[in-house]
């Protein structure tokens, strides 16, 4: 409740949430909203600057950039959503078990995450997708491999603190089984950091998918993906700068907003930062 009130006092964070909901609706309603077919080519109209019919101009095949960006939101959103879901489904149980039982389970999970952390995330995802094949499904699998360790670490850190509180001790002393303690007493109290991580993972997923598509991995043409649009736009930078600017702005706005809301929530859960404004690492 206090967290909600805190967000309420931050109009920018609320604006961020509104933006996210709008973006989600855009992704959902893209077919109804898009003024043109995102795949319809019109060579006579190629690389046109923004006009009344093509608000954001056209690309190298004369396709409407606005319509492609609206459809691209579907890919970015599904990738962000799947990344966060994998993080929740795999990372949360891992972190919960490691932080609650400690000992051998903890050391095993920490070794696994340390190994995965040794690879720069972009490089690991590029290598995985390159090996498994350039499909959106494989991009999602690669993202799962990258986000799970981070998720597990965040949850473990929270669980370590929560497990040593007196109310958890009391629950164990009263004979509540470990499963019950974890699910009913530990997990609900770790929801703050988990929620923050969901937002950060979502934005990270969008960014990584865009990076991979930009390199030509993952989605293949003519799929309207933001990263892929930037990839083709790069060759026309001089002639058609709008072709680069709008899809890039879509990625930037999405990533910045999700980070921003995630940060706002983190501050709301952190009593020290709550007083000092932005920051933290």
């Amino acid at each position: 409740m206090r967290t909600l009130r805190f967000l309420g006092g931050r109009p920018l964070a609320v604006a961020g949430l509104v933006f996210i909901v709008t973006l989600g609706l855009v992704a959902l309603l893209a077919p109804a909203l898009a003024p043109h077919d995102p795949l319809e080519m019109n060579v006579a109209q190629r690389l046109r600057p923004p006009t009344a019919t093509n608000w954001l101009g056209t690309d190298e095949f004369g396709r409407d950039i606005l319509s492609r960006i609206l459809y691209g939101a579907r890919i970015s959103f599904s990738v962000g959503f799947v990344s966060a879901a994998i993080g929740l489904l795999l990372g949360v149980p891992m972190g919960l078990l490691a932080g609650y039982y400690r000992g051998a389970v903890d050391r095993l999970f920490m070794a696994l995450t340390d190994i995965l952390f040794a690879f720069p995330a972009i490089l690991l995802s590029v290598a995985l997708v390159a090996m498994m094949g350039s499909t959106l499904e494989n991009v999602m699998i690669a993202l799962g491999v990258i986000v799970t360790p981070t998720f597990a670490r965040v949850v473990r850190a929270a669980v370590l603190v929560i497990s040593s509180t007196t109310y958890v001790e009391a629950a164990v002393a009263m004979g509540v089984r470990h499963g019950g303690v974890m699910l009913r007493h530990v997990l609900p109290n770790a929801m703050g950091p988990i929620l923050v991580q969901v937002f950060l993972t979502f934005s990270y997923g969008v960014l990584v998918e865009a990076s991979l598509s930009f390199l030509g991995l993952g989605n293949q043409p003519p799929t309207p993906s933001w990263g892929l649009m930037l990839n083709s736009a790069y060759g026309y930078m001089e002639r058609a700068p709008w072709f680069s600017i709008f899809p890039g702005a879509a990625i930037a706005a999405t990533v910045v907003t999700f980070n921003f809301v995630g940060d706002g929530l983190r501050d709301a859960f952190d009593p020290v930062l709550r007083r000092s404004g932005w920051g933290g690492a």
Binding site: A111, L112, D114, I115, L116, A118, F119, P120, A121, I122, L123, L124, V126, A127, L128, A130, M131, M132, G133, S203, L207, A210, S211, F214, L215, G216, L217, L230, A233, Y234, M237, E238, P241, S244, I245, G248, I251, A252, V255, V256, N259, F260, D263, V272, L273, S276, G277, W278, G279, G280, A281
Partner: protein, 314 residues
């Protein structure tokens, strides 16, 4: 005590290195279908494929293949490029300096921007400078660096013609031209690190400025700049440097895309080209070398931290 800490660190490191090598070894197994026939573009006959499988030892059990691969890698043999036939390690050694220079310059830009801005933000919360710092940190974390790179090239190279367009000149041939060409790539690569280090500096300073010794220094009548730069900075520096070490290691991954955009002949570009040529030994080799560098940088930071800060418990 320090020796025991280092020993424990090295033990853990060995475990991690074994894990890394297994992962990199298994990477090539992810290729669906038969690697050899994919690499040969299905042009070879069945007998030829079988012959090459024997040559690479692919007909052996998995653990035998792994041990063979690891002992070779330890001797510096990362295999040969399928396309050019050149030893992978020799190619990497040739390209590594470019990636290193790019990462170093990016880190330099990040530190020069982040530390002063972080300090000013912490010293004057709510001021205009704090606001600007906040905006830089939000954008730095959110703007895709490959998009920023595109915009920078468009603005500074195409429109304003302030710097030469993309390309690469070795610093040994022409240091000035080298720096001019490296400026935009390094700037694009630096944004994420600038943001994280700035946030770290700010929060470290806010914590330190609330402590008693700072109050004592102020009470003594020391000027604010002496308090900030002499007393507080010295204490914040350790946290800032730790963060920077981790971020420098991340730059190695980010350079993958930046090198591609600016056509810099570094390791990232080497890896990406290999990916599209299905030159799997190169992909494997570069991933291994980058992971090792990453681990070494993080280890150095950990040890420095332990050596410098007497408060670290072993």
């Amino acid at each position: 005590m320090l020796a025991r800490y280092i020993l424990a660190k090295l033990q853990w490191l060995t475990l991690i290195l074994v894990g890394i090598s297994i992962l990199v070894f298994l990477l090539i197994r992810l290729v669906p279908g038969d690697v050899i026939s994919i690499m040969l573009y299905q042009q070879a006959s069945a007998e030829k494929i079988q012959e090459i499988r024997g040559l690479f030892g692919l007909d052996q059990p998995l653990h035998v293949q792994y041990l063979r691969w690891v002992t070779r890698a330890l001797r510096g043999d990362l295999g040969r490029s399928i396309v050019t036939g050149r030893p992978v390690l020799a190619d990497i050694v040739e390209r590594f300096p470019v990636t290193l220079e790019l990462s170093f310059l990016a880190a330099l830009i990040a530190l020069v921007l982040a530390i002063p801005f972080g300090i000013i933000s912490a010293a004057r919360p709510g001021s205009v400078a704090d606001g600007i710092g906040n905006v830089i940190s939000v954008l730095g974390l959110g703007l895709p660096n490959f998009w920023l790179a595109t915009i920078l090239v468009l603005a500074f190279s195409v429109k304003l013609a302030l710097v030469p367009p993309i390309g690469y000149v070795s610093p040994l041939d022409n240091p000035v031209q080298n720096l001019r060409l490296m400026l935009l790539p390094a700037l694009s690569l630096s944004t994420y690190m600038t943001a994280t280090v700035m946030r770290m500096t700010r929060s470290a300073f806010i914590e330190i400025l609330g402590q008693d010794f700072v109050r004592a220094a102020r009470a003594k009548g020391l000027s604010e700049s002496v308090v900030l730069l002499k007393h507080a900075l010295r204490n914040a520096l350790i946290a800032i440097l730790t963060m920077s070490g981790i971020e420098v290691a991340k730059l190695l991954g980010g350079s993958l895309i930046i090198e591609q955009i600016f056509a810099l002949p570094g390791m990232g570009r080497y890896a990406v080209e290999a990916i599209f040529a299905r030159d799997y030994p190169i992909v494997q080799g570069t991933v291994l070398v980058v992971a090792l560098t990453f681990v070494l940088i993080n280890l150095t930071v950990d040890l420095l931290y332990a050596a410098v800060d007497p408060r670290v418990r072993y």
